[in-house]
Subunit: 216 residues, 2 copies
DNA sequence: TAGATTGTTAATCGATTAACAATC
DNA sequence: TAGATTGTTAATCGATTAACAATC
C-alpha cells in the first residue's frame, strides 16, 4: 500500500528529463527509446527506465516512449499541472532578474508581488508589479494564497524573514540567501547557492590546473 | 602514487563546510569537533571526518579541528587561494545581478568585462564596467587571461557561443542557460539551472499536498 | 595519565548498471 | 510471427555510517 520513497537522486534528474523531452517535443519527435534518450543525455538507458518506473510504466515494449505523453506525465509528477503564486522578497538585482524571467510564468509560476525594505526601490515597477514595502507583506500573504516565496535578501535577514513567512502560512521557500534555513518539516526549502556553485567550478579548475603542472 | 579520485558527492559538500567554517570564524570560534559541526550542519560526524580525510588529516585527536586552519585549507582545496578573471556574457537581468554581486569579488572572482549583443545595452555601465559588443569578445579573451565565462544568454545561442569561447581558450564556463553544453573534457562547465531548481521545489510541494489529501 | 576525538577500517546501506523475461 | 524495447529482478558498485584503535 505505502509507496516506496523516491530517492533524492531520482528527483534531481526528473527536471532534466522534462527538459530533454520538451526539446524533443519542439522538434516534433513522436517516440523515443530509453537507449536513444540515454545517448542524448549521456546517462545509461537502464537508469532512465529505472527512474521512470518509480512512477509507473510510461513506455511500451518494442516501441519505446511516446514523447508527448511522457513529457506530460513527468510534468504532472513535477507538479507542473497547476499554477503557483510566487512572491519575491528582495527587489535587488537578483530579485529583479527572477521577476523579469518570463519562462517561469510560462511554466505556471506566476509572480504576483514583490517586496523590499529600501524606500528608494519601493514604488518602482518591475513588469507591471509595484514593489511593496516589507511591512505590507504579512497582510498580503494572509489575504492571498501564496504558494512560494523567493528569498533574495542578505543572509543576515534571511533566517528571521523565513520564520515570519512560515508563521504567516508560506509552505514553499526558494532560498537564494547564502545560508541554511532550518524550518518545520511541512515547509519545503529549495536552495540556490550561487557562491557555492562558483566554488565547485573553481575546485574543478584547480584540480585540472594541478594535474597539468604535474604532467608538465 | 596516484591519488584516489574524489567523489562528486564530497565536492558538492565542500563549499558548505567552507561556509559553516567561515561563519564560525566570524564568531571567533577557535576549535570545533566533528560532532559539534555535525550537529550544526545536520550531517553525521562520520561523514565530515571521512570527507575531510580525502584531502589529509586536518584535525588533532582529543582536540578537534582548528576553525581558522580548516577554513583556510578547504579554501585552498576549492581553489580560493588565487584570483579568477571572470567575464559575463549577456548583460540581461541575471548578468547584471551577477556583475553587481560583490561577494564574488571578495572571494577572488573578479569581473573584468561584460558583453552583450543588444545595442541598447552596449555602452551602459554596470559597476564601472562598460558593456561591450559581442564582436569585441574574441579579441578581449585572446588579449586577457580569462579564467571563467559566465553565460547568461538565451538557450538558443548558448551552445554556439560556448564552442566559440572554448576555441578562444576559455577553460571554465558558468552556464546559466537552460541547456547542457557538450564540450571537450579539458573545459569545466558548472551549470545553474534555475528552472530545474524551481521544479524540484514544486515537486516536493506536490508530494506534500497529495499526502495531505490522502490523510485528509 | 585519563579523556576526548581523530583517522581509518569494516559493515551497512542505497544507487547504478547489467541482464533478461515479458510483451507490444 | 519476429524484432524491438520495456519493466523488473539480480549483480555490482559506491557512498554512508558505525566502530574502534591510534594518539593528542
Amino acid at each position: 500500500m505505502s509507496k516506496k520513497e523516491i530517492s533524492k537522486a531520482v528527483i534531481n534528474r526528473l527536471p532534466r528529463y522534462y527538459r530533454y523531452l520538451g526539446d524533443l517535443l519542439e522538434k516534433d519527435v513522436v517516440r523515443i527509446s530509453s537507449k536513444e534518450l540515454s545517448e542524448k543525455m549521456k546517462v545509461t538507458a537502464s537508469q532512465i527506465r529505472q527512474d521512470l518506473n518509480n512512477f509507473g510504466g510510461f513506455g511500451q515494449q518494442g516501441y519505446g516512449y511516446n514523447v508527448e505523453y511522457l513529457h506530460s506525465e513527468i510534468g504532472k509528477i513535477l507538479g507542473l499541472d497547476r499554477k503557483y503564486k510566487v512572491i519575491i522578497i528582495g527587489a535587488g538585482n537578483l530579485g529583479q532578474a527572477l521577476a523579469n524571467y518570463t519562462d517561469f510564468a510560462r511554466r505556471g509560476f506566476q509572480i504576483v508581488a514583490i517586496f523590499d525594505i529600501d524606500p528608494k526601490i519601493i514604488g518602482t515597477k518591475i513588469r507591471d508589479i509595484e514593489v511593496q514595502p516589507l511591512e505590507q507583506m504579512e497582510e498580503y500573504i494572509k489575504d492571498n494564497d501564496i504558494d512560494i516565496a523567493a528569498l533574495t535578501v542578505p543572509k543576515t535577514s534571511a533566517p528571521l524573514l523565513a520564520a515570519d513567512l512560515v508563521s504567516w502560512g508560506i509552505k514553499g521557500i526558494w532560498n537564494f540567501a547564502p545560508t541554511d534555513l532550518h524550518l518545520p518539516s511541512d515547509v519545503t526549502v529549495e536552495n540556490v547557492h550561487l557562491a557555492e556553485s562558483l566554488m565547485k567550478l573553481s575546485y574543478r579548475l584547480s584540480v585540472k590546473e594541478n594535474l597539468k603542472k604535474k604532467e608538465g
